[in-house]
């Protein structure tokens, strides 16, 4: 195999200066051919393993998780769907209703555990984060759910008292279910960023249709990406 020293340095995650020295000193099975390094892939892999180094060619790696996350608020919201006119007067009532609406995504068998976990979380402290919005979510990622991270946007028929921090009754819920803590936190942080936006809150009050809503979320998410990149 023929690679430049910089490529080789990337695949071995060692600085090019070190590799140049190792080649000169004859410590690794690589030779110069002009300004390129020539080596046998099999030999360098066994050499790397002997010396506790990693040699990974680009084809060997799986897609990184970061790429999966980068645009996933919209994806999660599309997965979770937008649901209108949820009935119920109590927290437990609307949560039951919301879980019923996403039952086909997470699987029927996972529903009781999810409801139980959501209620437990509400008992600890309300997820009503003010401005009439609540973000119910399980405290820990649930084991039995084999679904991608999702946010179900639920517009309630009648505002429900969630015991929110500003004591306003809740009219929109973002039910958040994620398979691991990392994506859970990531989605929670992006959702709360959206809710801090006054314009977005106005849009929520007007109960927009799904297309318009998702577009707005996408818009804010791009903004978020810009300010944090």
């Amino acid at each position: 195999m023929l690679l430049s020293i910089n490529e080789l340095s990337r695949y071995l995650s060692m600085p090019p200066d070190t590799l140049r020295r190792w080649i000169r000193q004859g410590r690794m099975p690589v030779k110069w051919k002009g300004d390129k390094c020539i080596f046998s892939t099999r030999m360098i892999k066994s050499w790397a393993a002997d010396n506790h180094l990693k040699f990974t060619l680009p084809g060997d790696t799986k897609a990184d998780n970061d790429d999966l996350l980068s645009s996933s608020l919209v994806t999660a919201m599309e997965t979770g769907g937008v649901h209108y006119g949820l009935s119920g007067d109590t927290v437990a009532g609307v949560l039951h209703e919301a879980v019923a609406r996403i039952g086909d995504i997470i699987g029927e068998s996972a529903k009781p555990a999810l409801i139980k976990s959501l209620l437990e979380r509400e008992e600890m402290m309300s997820t009503g984060i003010g401005h009439g919005v609540a973000v119910p979510h399980p405290r820990k990622p649930l084991a039995g759910i084999d679904a991608p991270p999702l946010i179900a946007t639920c517009f309630l028929q009648t505002p429900v008292d969630f015991d929110a921090i500003d004591h306003k009754p809740v009219h929109v819920m973002f039910l958040l279910v994620a398979p691991d803590s990392r994506s859970h936190l990531y989605l929670l942080s992006r959702t709360s960023y959206c809710i801090r936006d006054v314009e977005f809150r106005g849009l929520l009050a007007s109960v927009p249709d799904k297309k318009m809503f998702i577009e707005k979320v996408g818009e804010i998410e791009t903004l978020f990406g810009k300010s944090h990149a």
Binding site: D17, R21, R24, G26, P29, G34, S40, D50, N51, H52
Partner: protein, 575 residues
């Protein structure tokens, strides 16, 4: 890209797929070649020396004969200084230096310069040995053959070892000594990758010398009977040889110092030193030249000298050697050690005879052997070399038990007084002595350039705290270099700890500039600094990381955490 023609492929044997997979075979083949060449060099010097001393033999009895070593020393010095422009010195430290510092890189002219200069010094009667010059030639031959075939450093070091082994094996007709000396003194590393080609080169060197000079053992002797008494007496002998070793080392160093303090042209110093040796030689011709002729006599047991005379000879040879080597002559310490050692052995024998006249079981030849071994082990601090050299050059395995005792005790005792061997003392004191897989070796290989981490985010001195907090959010490091926004000059560092008290105080966000928070003029490391010095500074100031600058620009951070990681890799890769 450069295209290499098929015709030239033999110049790049390491490119052949066959050798690229495993270069051991390549090293064995080239090692044999190097061994043959260095064997030839040693035979050439041996024959040259005997020819020159035959020619000068007729002049020995004349009154002006004492000028001869002086003339030889001047010629040898002028040749080294003016013709080939290489510094004086006997050769072995230069080889060790090149192996430990430059991966065995040596100049081509080194492969013959010491041969000629030591031929002049020793042939004319200077008290020095031909071994170190031959070792240097052999090493230079190995290094240049490696360069001719474009080998890498590890392979070149192996071939330098092959050269020394072949040379020593050739000059003494002693293959095991060649191997052991190379591994003990030159390489300091008993790895199988090196030992095999060195062994082959030893065989090649010894075989070449046997073909050209005949298979002869240097010092033949009668069979000695070794009994309990000799074992116990050898312990006493070891103490004496250790004392003489220390004395010789100190004399060599002192003579070199004295010569350095005299303000005379160097060639005059060489002449003075040589003539003084010649004067001693007028009285006692035993001190002149390499002196192997007299060793033979002593080993055979027919050396006519009493206790007083032998003691005088020990002192005279020590002085003659110091004058030759310290004042500008060229040659090695090996042969003088053997001569002084056999005188010392004889001296012990004579004293024992004087104390207990009835002891008949001990043989003076045997004591001469043991004395040589004791001196070699003491001066070189290489017990294995001392043991095998004597066994091989005398062909007497029956003396092995007292030999081991004398070697071991003499090395240990000398080490107590002179912690570094004569070959290595200068290298150790200048910090240039690095054995494979030691701390010094690893630290000298790694450079700051390789360790620097460049993923720090540089901020400007007039940035507001509020903007900085956003930068902190994205960074995954705790250190932030501060630069001047106009000149780009590095002005200070901010650690996360520095802003922690203000981090949650939005009032300050717009009011405080980074300039006010940063630590101005932090300790920095230059990218070209030696890692060992940087570590010393970090240890002294209890720092775990330091900013690296190049000129007045920030380059990155160097930290002990990364260093540990790289240090381990370096150690693993070296073995």
């Amino acid at each position: 890209m450069k295209k290499y023609s098929v015709k030239k492929i033999w110049r790049y044997p390491s490119r052949l797929v066959f050798f690229r997979l495993d270069d051991r075979l390549l090293l064995i083949v080239l090692g044999a070649l190097v061994g043959v060449c260095s064997g030839l060099a040693s035979v050439a010097l041996n024959h040259g020396l005997s020819a020159l001393s035959d020619i000068l033999q007729s002049c020995r009895s004349l009154w002006w004969a004492f000028f001869l070593p002086g003339i030889g020393a001047v010629l040898s010095f002028l040749f080294l200084e003016k013709v080939v422009r290489e510094g004086a010195g006997h050769g072995v430290p230069e080889v060790v230096y090149s192996v430990s510092r430059y991966g065995g890189l040596m100049r081509f002219r080194s492969s013959f310069s010491r041969l000629i200069s030591s031929w002049l010094t020793i042939g004319s009667g200077g008290s020095a040995g031909p071994e170190a010059p031959v070792v240097m030639s052999g090493a230079a031959i190995g290094s240049n053959i490696a360069r001719f075939f474009s080998l890498n450093e590890r392979q070149r070091v192996a071939l330098v070892g092959c050269g020394t082994a072949g040379a020593l094996a050739g000059i003494f007709n002693a293959p095991i000594t060649g191997m052991v000396f190379t591994i003990e003194i030159i390489m300091g590393d008993w790895s199988a990758v090196n030992v095999v080609p060195i062994a082959i080169a030893s065989v090649a060197g010894a075989q070449v010398s046997r073909l050209l000079s005949g298979d002869q053992i240097q010092f033949t002797h009668l069979k000695f009977a070794i009994d309990m008494t000799s074992i116990f007496l050898s312990i006493g002998l070891a103490v004496v040889t250790a004392a003489v070793s220390v004395l010789l080392t100190r004399c060599l160093v002192a003579s070199h110092d004295i010569a350095g303090r005299i303000f005379l042209p160097f060639w005059i110093k060489a002449a003075v030193g040589g003539c003084l040796v010649g004067l001693i030689g007028l009285a006692r011709p035993e001190v002149l030249g390499e002196g192997y002729h007299f060793i033979q006599k002593m080993v055979e047991g027919g050396f006519p000298a009493g206790l007083f005379l032998v003691t005088l000879l020990v002192a005279a040879k020590i002085i003659a050697t110091s004058l030759t080597l310290g004042w500008g002559g060229s040659g090695g310490i090996f042969a003088p050690c053997l001569v002084i050692g056999s005188f010392t052995g004889l001296m012990c024998h004579r004293s024992i005879m004087a104390l207990w006249p009835g002891l008949t079981s001990i043989n003076e030849g045997c004591f001469a052997l043991l004395g040589m071994s004791g001196l070699i082990s003491g001066i070189l601090q290489a017990p294995m070399t001392g043991i095998f050299l004597i066994v091989e050059i005398t062909g007497g395995y029956e003396t092995i038990l007292p030999l081991i005792i004398v070697s071991a005790i003499s090395t240990t005792l000398t080490h107590a007084f002179e912690p570094a061997s004569y070959y290595l003392r200068d290298l150790i004191s200048s910090g240039q002595y690095m054995r494979p897989r030691t701390d010094a070796r690893v630290l000298s290989d790694l450079s700051i350039r390789e360790l620097v981490e460049t993923d720090c985010i540089t901020v400007h001195r007039s940035m507001k705290l509020g903007d900085f907090v956003k930068v902190v959010q994205e960074s995954h490091r705790n250190y932030f270099p501060v630069a001047d926004e106009k000149s780009g000059k590095f002005v200070g560092m901010i650690h996360l700890d520095d802003i922690r008290p203000y981090l949650f105080d939005p009032l300050l966000y717009e009011a405080v500039f980074l300039e006010q928070i940063m630590r101005a003029d932090p300790d920095t490391v230059d990218i070209a600094d030696e890692l060992s010095e940087v570590l010393d500074r970090m240890d002294k100031r209890r720092l775990y990381s330091m900013p690296v600058v190049s000129g007045d620009r920030f380059v990155g951070m160097v930290s002990k955490a990364t260093l540990l990681d790289r240090y381990r890799h370096e150690l693993m890769v070296q073995s």
